[in-house]
């Protein structure tokens, strides 16, 4: 029943995507509403908990997507994989930019808060647990960390993750397997 619902939802989103490619603004808005929250959360978890700000990187990602959308060919799943691929690349760009940027000499405590955007993890009940698991995942090798984030937060399938990371599905499965083994080892070591 749930599978049938997800299939029909995917079909509906396929139609929405086709209309968005043709230039329908409302359909593009629907796509954005369906995909942006998870994308922002993926970027938030992947990019050191909001540094660089996930919303900024997500905006850059969507701008790039909008620019290349008329040339996109594929269905909704392909689009999702492509979106996360663009998001990964923009995250890498942002990280490089941040590394090149000179460090601020002003003490952070002297700056008045300007109503910064809310922390994406605010609504989560086990916030401490969330931060801990994100830290542990980020401590893994980059590919393993990324594959876990894409699969769990981005909710991508193995095939979609493979497209987003430009790897084969089998390589993704192996990466997930190794990442889980490493993570269990880390958690077990801490608990011991």
């Amino acid at each position: 029943m749930g599978e049938a619902a997800s299939v029909s939802e995917a079909d509906a989103l396929d139609a929405v995507l086709r209309l968005a490619i043709k230039g329908d603004q409302i359909c593009f808005g629907e796509l954005w509403r369906a995909l942006n929250p998870r994308l922002e959360r993926f970027l938030y978890a992947q990019g050191a908990m909001g540094d660089p700000p996930a919303s900024d990187v997500a905006s850059e990602t969507w701008l790039q997507v909008v620019r290349d959308l008329p040339r996109f060919k594929g269905d909704y799943r392909d689009f999702r994989a492509w979106l996360y691929q663009v998001g990964r690349n923009r995250m890498i760009d942002a990280a490089r930019l941040k590394a090149r940027r000179p460090k601020a000499t002003v003490d952070i405590d002297d700056i008045e808060p300007m109503g910064a955007p809310g922390d994406l993890s605010e609504g989560v009940v086990n916030r401490a647990e969330l931060k801990e698991i994100i830290e542990k995942i980020r401590a893994l090798p980059a590919a393993q960390s990324e594959v876990l984030m894409l699969r769990i937060i981005g909710d991508l399938s193995v095939e979609e993750t493979a497209k987003a990371m430009k790897k084969t599905p089998n390589a993704i499965r192996v990466l997930v397997h190794r990442a889980l083994a490493n993570l269990r080892e880390q958690i077990g070591g801490v608990e011991e």
Partner: protein, 246 residues
């Protein structure tokens, strides 16, 4: 044979094992309790948000750009098609004669070599006199002597008259004057050849030479101008000019 098979199996086995293991790994993330908090974070209720205006503007701009590009591509394709089709139809004789004539004229203009402007200033009167010289009605035997030119006059005025744009643009006068220069009638459209040949001939010859057109009688007496006497244009000459002028 069996050894070969065993060797192949040993070679292939690691890859097989890799594929088997990797496909059997399956979706072991689904029930993993480690990621409960992460899953909760990913699927937590979202604040209703609107699409940023900047993003919508970028979307519209992108669509406009795509539409413009599509139109330009379609327009250039159509132009290319017309540019190919119309000459083809004109040469096939499908198009009406005025259109065919226009196409032919355009083709003639395109196929003409580029003319390098000469140093001498163009003199429209000289070209007029040359064209008059060759028309049957106004031969060199003008009674008052204004239209008739001595060989020396022709020698001095010929280069400037040849380089005048009027003479070059007038294909009728070209087809009749250029064979007179003495290049054997080859290249009636070769203005450069005319310009380069005439000064070389000026020292020895006047403009009047013998006209030889295939299938037509030659103009006799034109070479008489070498000795400075008035040439007598035969009736055949006027016929020749008319034919070549047409």
């Amino acid at each position: 044979m069996s050894n070969l098979w065993a060797w192949l199996r040993n070679k292939i086995a690691p890859h097989d094992a890799y594929v088997t293991v990797s496909t059997q790994l399956g979706d072991d993330l689904a029930g993993e309790p480690i990621f409960a908090a992460l899953r909760e974070f990913a699927s937590s209720p979202l604040l209703p948000s609107a699409v940023p205006v900047l993003l919508l503007e970028a979307f519209n701009a992108s669509q406009k750009r795509v539409n413009r590009r599509r139109k330009i591509r379609a327009g250039s394709g159509a132009l290319f098609g017309v540019a190919i089709l119309i000459p083809s139809l004109a040469y096939a004789g499908v198009l009406p004669s005025p259109v065919s004539r226009i196409v032919q004229r355009v083709f003639n203009v395109i196929s003409l070599p580029i003319q390098i402007p000469s140093v001498a200033a163009p003199s429209p009167s000289a070209s007029e006199s040359n064209s008059d010289e060759l028309t049957p009605g106004s031969s060199n035997e003008a009674p008052d002597g204004e239209q008739s030119q001595s060989p020396n006059e022709v020698q001095t005025r010929k280069p400037s008259s040849e380089s005048s744009p009027e003479t070059n643009s007038n294909s009728d006068s070209e087809s009749s004057t250029l064979p007179l220069i003495g290049d054997g009638g080859a290249g009636a459209h070769d203005e450069h050849g005319a310009q380069s040949v005439i000064p070389a001939l000026d020292s020895n010859l006047s403009v009047r030479g013998s006209v030889e057109v295939d299938g037509l009688p030659s103009i006799s007496g034109l070479s008489d101008g070498l000795d400075g006497s008035q040439p007598s244009t035969s009736p055949g000459a006027s016929e020749t000019d008319q034919v070549s002028g047409n």
